[in-house]
C-alpha cells in the first residue's frame, strides 16, 4: 500500500495519464476542498483588504482579527430558511445554483498546479476550460428567469450579453498564446500542461514573448477576465446600487452561498488560465537569470519561508493581544493557528516534499496576485454603464485582440517569410 503510494507519487504523470481512477478521485477531492477553502480565505481577505483600503478594520470580532468570520457566515447561511418565491419556476430555480457551481468547479479538472498536479492533461485543455466556464452563463440566465422578478431578469440579461461579448476578446487573446506554443516545435498545443512546457522550452513566459505583443494579449485577457467573472468595474449583473443584487436577488441562504462560491471559484479559474497562459504556470520566477543549484534550493525554500513569516506574524499578534480574560480564547486560538502554520512550514522544508510542493506554491502565488488585483479594482473603480461596457468589449478589446493576433502570427512566421524572400531574390 505504502509502496504503491510512494511509487505513484514519484512518477511524473497525472492521474488522467496514468488512467488511475483512484488517484483521480483523490485529486478531485483535494482540489474541491482546496477551492472551497480558498473561497473562504478569499472571503476573509477581500473583506480585510477592502476594509483597509477604505480606512476601516473589517471583521474583528469572530476569532482573532475576524479569522473565523467566513466560517460563521457559512454556518449562518447553511441554517437560514430556504425560501423559494411563490411565483418562481421551482425546478429551474432549484437547479440554477447547481449549474453555476458545477461549471465553476469542473473547470479545475484541467488546471495544472504542477507538472503532475492536475487531475488530467487533456489535449484540448484550454478549449475545455473555456467551454465549461461559459456554461456558467446558462445558470445565471436560469436564475434570473426563474425568479420571475424584474431585477433578476435584467441582471441575467445584462450578464449573458456581457459574458458573450467578452468571451470573444478572451478567445482571441488565448489564441495568441496558443500560437506562441507552436513556435519551436511547429505544432501548437491546447493542453494546459503543454502550454506551460512550451514556455519552459522557449525560456520565457508568454507575457514577455514578442514584446509588447505578449503583454498586449495578456492585457486584453486580464480585462476580459474581470468582465467574464462579473466583478468590479464590470459588475453590472449584480450592480447593487441599480439592480439590488442582480440575478440572485431572490436567492437566500444556502442557494445564495452557492452563487457566492461559484463566483469566487470562477475568479480562481480564470486567474488560473491567465497564470498558465502568460505567467509560466507552476514555474518559479527568474529561471534563466538566477539559475544553478543554489538558486534552485533558495527558491524551493520559499513555501516554507512564507509559512514561517505568516506564523511569525500570528505569534507576534498573539504577543500583542491585550492580556485580559475576555481575550484569552482569541489569544490561544491565534497562537495555535500560528504554531500550526509554523508546523506546516517545517513539513515543507523536508527535501522530498519541498521540491514537489514548490510547483503548487508558485502557481498559487501567481493566482493570489490576480485575486489581489480583483480586490484592488473593486476598491478603486466606479462601475461602467451597460452601453459603455459593450463599447469597451466590441470597439476596444475585440479590435486590439484581433490586431495582436495577426501581429503575433506574422511575427512568428518572420523566419519563414524572410527565408522565402531571400530564396526568391537573385
Amino acid at each position: 500500500m505504502f509502496d504503491a503510494i510512494t511509487k505513484y507519487l514519484s512518477s511524473a504523470t497525472t492521474p488522467g495519464e496514468a488512467g488511475s481512477i483512484f488517484w483521480a478521485t483523490i485529486y478531485i477531492l483535494i482540489i474541491t476542498a482546496g477551492i472551497s477553502l480558498s473561497v473562504i480565505a478569499m472571503n476573509w481577505l477581500e473583506r480585510k483588504i477592502l476594509a483597509h483600503m477604505q480606512i476601516r478594520l473589517g471583521p474583528m470580532r469572530v476569532g482573532p482579527h475576524g479569522l473565523l468570520q467566513p466560517f460563521a457566515d457559512a454556518l449562518k447561511l447553511l441554517i437560514k430558511e430556504d425560501i423559494i418565491p411563490a411565483e418562481a419556476d421551482k425546478l429551474v430555480f432549484w437547479s440554477a445554483p447547481v449549474v453555476v457551481t458545477m461549471t465553476a468547479f469542473t473547470t479545475f479538472l484541467v488546471v495544472p498546479f504542477g507538472r503532475t498536479h492536475a487531475v488530467t492533461d487533456m489535449n484540448i485543455g484550454i478549449l475545455f476550460m473555456l467551454g465549461v466556464s461559459s456554461l456558467g452563463v446558462l445558470g445565471i440566465i436560469m436564475a434570473g428567469w426563474s425568479s420571475n422578478s424584474h431585477y433578476p431578469l435584467m441582471g441575467s440579461l445584462r450578464s449573458s450579453a456581457q459574458m458573450v461579448s467578452y468571451e470573444i476578446a478572451m478567445g482571441l487573446a488565448i489564441i495568441c498564446a496558443v500560437l506562441m506554443t507552436s513556435l519551436q516545435t511547429g505544432t501548437g498545443t491546447l493542453s494546459m500542461i503543454g502550454i506551460v512546457e512550451a514556455q519552459a522550452s522557449q525560456h520565457t513566459w508568454f507575457i514577455f514573448k514578442f514584446f509588447p505583443l505578449g503583454f498586449l494579449a495578456f492585457g486584453v485577457f486580464a480585462i476580459a477576465m474581470v468582465a467574464e467573472t462579473n466583478r468590479a468595474p464590470f459588475d453590472l449583473p449584480e450592480a447593487e446600487s441599480e439592480l439590488v443584487a442582480g440575478f440572485h436577488t431572490e436567492y437566500s441562504g444556502f442557494r445564495w452561498s452557492l452563487f457566492f462560491l461559484a463566483e469566487y471559484a470562477a475568479m480562481l479559474a480564470v486567474s488560473s488560465i491567465a497564470v498558465t497562459l502568460w505567467l509560466g504556470g507552476w514555474m518559479r520566477p527568474f529561471p534563466n537569470w538566477l539559475s544553478g543549484s543554489i538558486w534552485n534550493l533558495a527558491f524551493s525554500l520559499f513555501p516554507a519561508l512564507t509559512l514561517f513569516v505568516l506564523a511569525g506574524l500570528c505569534l507576534l499578534g498573539t504577543a500583542r493581544m491585550p492580556k485580559i480574560p475576555q481575550m484569552k480564547i482569541q489569544t490561544v486560538g491565534l497562537g495555535i493557528f500560528g504554531l500550526l502554520l509554523g508546523f506546516i512550514g517545517l513539513v515543507l522544508i523536508i527535501p522530498g516534499v519541498r521540491e514537489r510542493v514548490q510547483d503548487i506554491y508558485w502557481f498559487v502565488v501567481k493566482v493570489a496576485f490576480f485575486m489581489y488585483m480583483y480586490i484592488w479594482y473593486r476598491g478603486t473603480f466606479p462601475r461602467y454603464r451597460f452601453d459603455q461596457l459593450m463599447k469597451v468589449g466590441w470597439k476596444v478589446l475585440l479590435p486590439t485582440g484581433l490586431a495582436v493576433l495577426i501581429a503575433t502570427a506574422l511575427w512568428g512566421l518572420l523566419p519563414q517569410i524572410s527565408s522565402a524572400i531571400v530564396g526568391v531574390l537573385p
Binding site: T380, P382, R383, Y384, F386
Partner: protein, 395 residues
Amino acid sequence: MGENQPGYREWTMSDSTRTDYLDLDTKDETFLDATELVLNMGPQHPSTHGVLRVILKLDGEKVLGTECVIGYLHRGVEKIGENRTYAMFNPYVDRMDYVASVSNGLGYCEAVEKLLNVEAPPRAQYIRVILTELCRIASHQVWLGTHALDIGALTPLFYCFRDREEILKIFEKYCGARLTTHAFRIGGCIYEAYDGFEQDCQKFCDAFLPKLDEYEELLTTNRIWVRRTKGVGILNPEDCIALGVTGPVLRAAGVKWDLRRAQPYEAYKDFDFEIPTGLNGDTYDRYLVRIEEMRQSVRIIRQAVEGLPQGPIMAKVPKVIKPPVGEIYHSIEAPKGELGYFIVSDGSTQPYRVRVRPPSFVNLQALDKMVRGLLVADVVAVIGTLDIVLGEVDR
C-alpha cells in the same frame, strides 16, 4: 377634506402598489416593438437615498418615463409648526434635511427674526456663518460619498465620512449634538463659542483641503467616472428656471445664482468668495461645482474665524415670542438649494401657518426631464446628483 369634497377618494391598500401614475396606455416607440417594462424602483432600494419610489417605464434598459412617488417619510412638520410656539418649533426643522440640519435651523431662526424685526448681533452672525458653512461641507461630503457609491465607487464614501467626523466633532463640542444640532435660537446663538473653537475650525480647514484633493484624485480624472457622468442628466438653464431648480444643480447649468450673494443674509456680505458655475449642466459639472463649493466654504470659514468679532451673541428678544400680525418669506442658500420659510403670524405665540420651500422637493421635479432616454444605471446617477434628502422632500 370630507367625503363629498370633489376629487375625494377613499385610500385603498391597492394604492400602495398601483402603477397607473404613468401613462401606460399610450404606446411609446420601443426597439423591435418590445413590450414596455414597468419597474418599481424603491421605496426599498439601496440607491434611492431613502424611501423615494420611482416607477420606471422601460424599453429594455432605456427609460421611457418616470414617476416619483413620495410621502413615505411624511411627518407633517409644517402642521406641527401650527401647534407649537415659535421657539418650540425650532428643533423640528432640524429633522427635515437631517444631513444639513444647521442650515435648516438658520433659515427658520432668520425668518422669525425678520418677522420680529430683530437682527442677531455680529458675533452671533459670524458663528452662524461658520457653523453653516461647516454644515455645507458635511452635506456635500455625504452627497459625494453616496453619489460615488451609486456609480459603483465604494471607497470615497469612507473617506468622506472620515472627514465629516471632524465637522460633527466641532458641532458636538459646540452644542452637544452631532446630527440634529438645534444650534441657533431666535435672536442669535445660545451657546458661546467654546474655548478652542477657532483653532478647531482652522485645524479642520488646513486638514480638509488635501483630503479634498484626495477625493478628486479618486474621481475627477477617472475615465470610468467621467464617462458615467459627462453628458448624463443634462439640464439647461431655461429648464432649471422653469422647474424652479436651485442650488448647485442650477449653478452647474451656468446660472450664477447664489442667495449668499444675490440677497446677502447674515454676515455673508463681509466675505470674499467665488460662486462656481458649470458649463453643460450635466452630472460631471454638478460634481465639479459641489467640489469647488467645498473649497469656497473653507475660504469663508477661514475669513469668518479670523474676523470673529467680540460682543453679545443674543439680540434682545422677549421671553415669549409674539410676532406682530403679518407674513414673511425668507430664504437662505442651503447646501441643496434655496431653502425658504413662509411664516404667517396671527399675533399669537404660535405661527398661523408655516410653509417650507424645500430645495430637495423642488429639485426632484427635474428627475423625469433629466432621465428620459437614458439608461437605468443613469437613473441612480441622476438621483444621486440631485442630492435629495427624503426627510426634506416629504417633510
